[in-house]
Subunit: 130 residues, 6 copies
């Protein structure tokens, strides 16, 4: 893990941007680990900053989606860091409970659809060209 003091100028520039974007001095371990590969650090931070910002979806909705993927993939680090992040953006215990319920339901129903080999209904074809 690369601390700010021992970081190259290239890495420091990313750390500085993380700090000013998030208005905090705290750099979490994910970035300190990625700093071993400065190109991946810079690219991953740019992508994360761009994608997780407000757009047509608000930042909290994006955190829910991120958490849903992380729980499904069983990524313990991501679960902890994005739970913290979602709480900062307004997630309550009750919202977390509903989120987990949807994630569990989708994981179950995905397998029922696969296992029974359900064919896509004609009227479900098409939106967004698919």
């Amino acid at each position: 893990m690369i601390e700010y003091e021992h970081a190259s100028p290239e890495v420091r520039a990313v750390y500085d941007d993380i700090r000013s974007t998030r208005r905090t001095d705290f750099i979490n371990n994910f970035w300190k680990a990625l700093a071993n590969d400065p190109k991946t650090l810079a690219r991953t931070w740019q992508a994360t900053k761009q994608i997780m910002a407000a757009g047509t979806l608000d930042p909290l909705t994006k955190e829910f989606v991120y958490l849903a993927v992380s729980v499904t993939n069983n990524c313990d680090y991501c679960l902890h860091s994005h739970t913290a992040s979602a709480v900062t953006k307004g997630m309550t215990a009750s919202m977390f409970g509903e989120l987990m319920a949807v994630v569990a339901l989708a994981n179950a129903n995905n397998r029922l659809a696969n296992g029974y080999g359900v064919e896509v209904d004609e009227r479900f074809r098409a939106p967004f060209g698919r």
Copy 2:
């Protein structure tokens, strides 16, 4: 696939509830396939109806989460049926694009966190007792 006309009273009761809950006559293939196992049909419909309804998370947010899981698990049927469902609840093409971007980002970052074996930061421990 069990059509309404050939369904047992037990299965018909579920189909009737799907129709009245969704205000449509349409029963999609997922339920017609599950009807081969009436207990699973009834249990899955009850769970889906309860979980996907408005709560502290609104129904569209729940569809985003459901889609995120289905894309990650590569469930083609679920992707189609819940894209249709999300569109009904207000998802635009631009929202779908942002959703996919978050799903892709989370799937990438999950692997970076796993691969680098990033340790959970002390301050990320605790919310909701974990």
Copy 3:
């Protein structure tokens, strides 16, 4: 896909063993595809033959387990070939329905356990040295 007529002696030996073990002339596509890499064909057939045979678990139970994994991984070919195989060994539609219900439940509960970060109970430690 390598047909028997165009197969090398090495591949034919495996096909012959598949036929005599299964008491059928039919060679399914999986083996014909693997025949492009004769070492993988031979090794995979040997492993499959040894593992799927009766042991302390009976062959039908093994098919249920194989199907559970294939549904979870969404492997369409495996789902079809091992459903056929399980039917030959006695799986009924009702058994298939219960199997799918367990697979869906486990996929859901796996995510609830992960998402809530549930700690392993002291008394669950130990069996088989873990």
Copy 4:
């Protein structure tokens, strides 16, 4: 984690049913964590109780299937709790060994089938309408 003493009547009712169904005073951590969301606790317990009971598949076979999914998804908690559960229902070390062998084989062969893009054989189509 919600202990019995601090649980609401709604949660206590589920705990009481777990205790009487399993003939034990022990409530494992999974349920104590879910108790933070009483609806999910009740729904998950009802589903688990119904699905894991004896049907056309016996309870031990269902535990094997549950374990196969949990190993494939890498759910450590589920692996421990359902190994304990399976041992109670008669799983021996030798059965566990065979179970793991089938799980590993299926995970390997799933990828060979996907990677080679094997087409489903005509005669594997059809059982249970697929």
Copy 5:
């Protein structure tokens, strides 16, 4: 799918870069689909171009890694596009066979390690700080 003729200047710029980088006029469907979300198109192309280029790993090795992930995740499109790509860079049928064998082995052994709950050996700790 957005064709070059109907693409916005922003999308055309990406298509032009794909064409000149790959020395071909051909734009494959992946990019035409992403063009519905120009930001994701640009970001994904930049990342792909940077990551898949020669570095301390050569481009063919990177294609093997990409294929290994795509087979494990069962992404049919990715499997086809990156098989084509790997063939262009020198992958032979024999290399593909060995690649699939490693992918299958790793997927099997991953589950044996998880299922037996194997503890990490002391001497395996440490490389790259983990």
Copy 6:
């Protein structure tokens, strides 16, 4: 975990082969855990020895592929043991960084392809008969 001193002749024979093949006295925990099921131990070692040896792909390339699968599946043990193994065969920190970047990219792009339901391009059909 079965130590050499307490191992049956069948298990010892495998341990001896591991030692002589790898020119070390060290037997890592994976094999000691599998030794509880001697058939799986022998079969898994034979497969691993055969598949991971030099062929048309060199051993280091095979370790990269193995690691890519293990990171994607989140197998902590496999990640540690094969990182150690890859380092022995020449993997540098820079190679590891590039490897992780490709793994993350593929996991992201797999979901973009799935989520947008991208159709396979005509010219990507065919290599190796698919």
